[in-house]
Symmetry: C2
Subunit: 242 residues, 2 copies
DNA sequence: CGCCTAGTTGAGGTAAGTCAATTCACGTGG
DNA sequence: CCACGTGAATTGACTTACCTCAACTAGGCG
């Protein structure tokens, strides 16, 4: 069937989907929408009863502080859920905005809860997807809490590469990356000015080049070593547990 | 029935549990274990097929870096799951250790997956619990990424208070807190020395006193205001959705 | 009595922030 | 076709929040 629907590819990497599960997932794909850069999908604090699956493009989820600063919690790439967490809590505790123009599939809360009850193996798969999301946030926390700016940027670019590789959008050579230095700064708890300096340093040392919408790993092994990147945790995916 | 089993109280806050669900949860409570301070429950990188529920005491989950630093990801209080995330991923990407002597209930992976398949409403409740966990980690990320040290400590103490209040272990007056300044430092991405200075400052300004195993909110409202604490996100719990 | 852990405080260093100016790529409208 | 505006990236000069090192105190316990 539609093996190239991002969500199916993603969940299918964890469990073998039955015919009925596949058709259920495919049926979701009727509610498709498009969002352009600049138009938020979800506003922080807004009560919402819907989540989305990202079909194409990049998005980011973030939290705003009173003083106008913001912390980007995570970037989402095709196949990822958007706003899954706020589906069970009653209010979205974070905002979501497109990084590029995006296509999404909407999932209503009621449909979602129904699906959980009637296709329990899907529920397990969703739980797994959520575990992956959480692992990503944890990785970000470690970046921000305990790595200096250079390691932090290096580690982040590697991790993003690993995630993209899993969905066929990257390799150890690099990947297309629509992020700006400002977005990077907000995700990594740095100032944009400093991100710029760090990127220059990494480029001059011949490890990564972040430029013109592309990340090029000039020396992947050296970068991995420098950032203390644990490649093993890519294990997150591709493990058919049952 | 055993309404004071922490897990039942926790999940029961989200869904109304049926008799069979209750008895299933109660049946879990045969596999109880005790861990003393200093004995890790889970080692980072160890493949594990079990999670736990914390019945009494405090624990923390953390990640170690190559350079010997560590980042505490979250503290767990009675009723919380331990290692839930690593149950579906194959390897535990983090370590877990007791903060105090603790009592836990062990949950094997197979039992857990079985339960998900056969009691779908429990699956939903677990998903909700996981959403709460993730929200906590996100809050920590915002602390570390975008708040200065004083706001960060203040916000953290408030958030912990809110969580403890939900399980009857705290109030706006304060709570018993077994954490050391070193643990606080590892959780907040600060040095222990600096944590000490910040705590002194908060104490001298009459907002919180962190001393002798207790957190006393000397001026709750002022502290909330200073830290930019959103009380509403306590909404996470107590919402019987269906 | 002496050791160990937790907490406290001071002095000095540095990584990263802020402010500000400049360049470049780009679209858009006159 | 050029003038203009706008968002992204770049670089320098200066400031500062937090870290490191180090010394010291106080309580708990074998």
């Amino acid at each position: 069937m539609d093996k190239n629907i991002p969500l199916i590819r993603k969940l299918g990497a964890f469990i073998a989907l039955s015919e009925s599960e596949l058709s259920f997932l495919a049926s979701l794909h009727k509610r498709r929408r498009t969002f352009a850069v600049g138009s938020d999908l979800v506003h922080q604090g807004q009560p919402d009863q819907a989540a989305y699956v990202l079909d194409s493009g990049w998005a980011c989820s973030y939290k705003l502080l009173e003083n106008g600063q913001r912390q980007i919690v995570d970037f989402q790439i095709p196949g990822d859920f958007l706003g899954l967490r706020s589906l069970l809590l009653n209010v979205s505790d974070h905002g979501i905005e497109p990084v590029t123009d995006i296509k999404v599939t909407k999932i209503c809360a009621t449909d979602f809860l129904n699906a959980l009850e009637h296709t329990p193996r899907l529920a397990t798969a969703v739980l797994w997807a959520m575990s992956c999301d959480e692992a990503t946030v944890v990785e970000r926390l470690v970046d921000v809490g305990r790595r200096n700016s250079t390691e932090r940027v290096a580690h982040f670019l590697l991790e993003l590469g690993a995630r993209l590789t899993l969905v066929g959008l990257g390799s150890t050579d690099g990947y297309a990356c629509p992020l700006t230095q400002y977005l990077l700064a907000d995700a990594l708890g740095l100032s944009a000015v400093h991100v710029n300096r760090v990127l220059r340093q990494l480029r001059e040392e011949g490890m990564v080049t972040f430029q013109n919408g592309f990340v090029d790993f000039d020396n992947y092994d050296q970068l991995v070593n420098f950032a203390g990147f644990e490649q093993s945790y890519m294990d997150k995916a591709g493990q058919l547990r049952y």
